[in-house]
Amino acid sequence: MAAPSSPTGPTPMRPLSPHLQVWRWHVTMLASILNRATGIGLYLGALGLVVWLALLAAGPEAYAPVEAALKAWYGQVALFLLAVAAAYHFAAGVRHLVWDSGRGFEPKTADATAWFAILFALLAPIGLWAVAG
């Protein structure tokens, strides 16, 4: 299909996508954004893990404030959010590896796996907390 020429010049009219008038919310779009957001969150989490290890290596006195922070409500919330991010990034990673094999691109399948990844991210950390007791 030949692209129609613009009435004002020689530049061919190119498709404008995503276009504001035909834009529609997709769960796959949210899934993609969340994969990047959780990846950046886990970057900070990995740096936190290194700080945790360094203070653990430094001894009980250095570790005391870490212990207090981890047991406080904000520490538990931070750990839970990191677990949610890890579970989401894990599920999204599986989606990407399946896509690499050329499968899972049908819109219905992609929507279903996106919802599954989001659900998994919320449920897996609850299971983890149940194991931790």
Binding site: R36, G39, W52, L53, A54, L56, A57, L97, D100
Partner: protein
């Protein structure tokens, strides 16, 4: 403002991202479940968990592979959003330095906990 040129490392980046993903599919659940079961936030349980040779080895692998994976991932984020060659190059270097420092500090801490007496 000049756009950054391709670095011609695309294929290696793609493969490394996949290989580290597959390794992390095993290492991440192991790390989360093992820590959830054995560590409850206090110094003793945490120290004993890291000092166990199997955990120390697994943790070192998990940490180094995670950090390599996140360096690759954040590199793509920088390349997607920062088009000016100078600030892009600077941010890529900062990303690499942070990851290198984190990997060395983490490995050093695991070594100290395992062999520091």
């Amino acid at each position: 403002m000049t756009a950054a040129k391709p670095a011609k490392h695309g294929t290696g980046h793609f493969i490394a991202e996949r290989v580290t993903s597959i390794a992390l599919l095993l290492l991440l659940p192991w790390f989360l479940f093992s820590v959830a079961i054995s560590v409850n936030g206090d110094f003793d349980s945490a120290f004993r968990w890291v000092a166990h040779p199997v955990n120390a080895g697994g943790l070192l692998l998990f940490l180094v592979i995670s950090i390599y994976h996140m360096r690759l991932g954040v590199q793509v984020v920088i390349e997607d959003y920062i088009s000016a060659a100078s600030s892009r190059g600077l941010l890529l270097a900062v990303n690499t330095l942070i990851c290198l420092a984190a990997a060395l500090a983490g490995a050093w801490a695991i070594y100290q906990i395992s062999f520091g007496g």
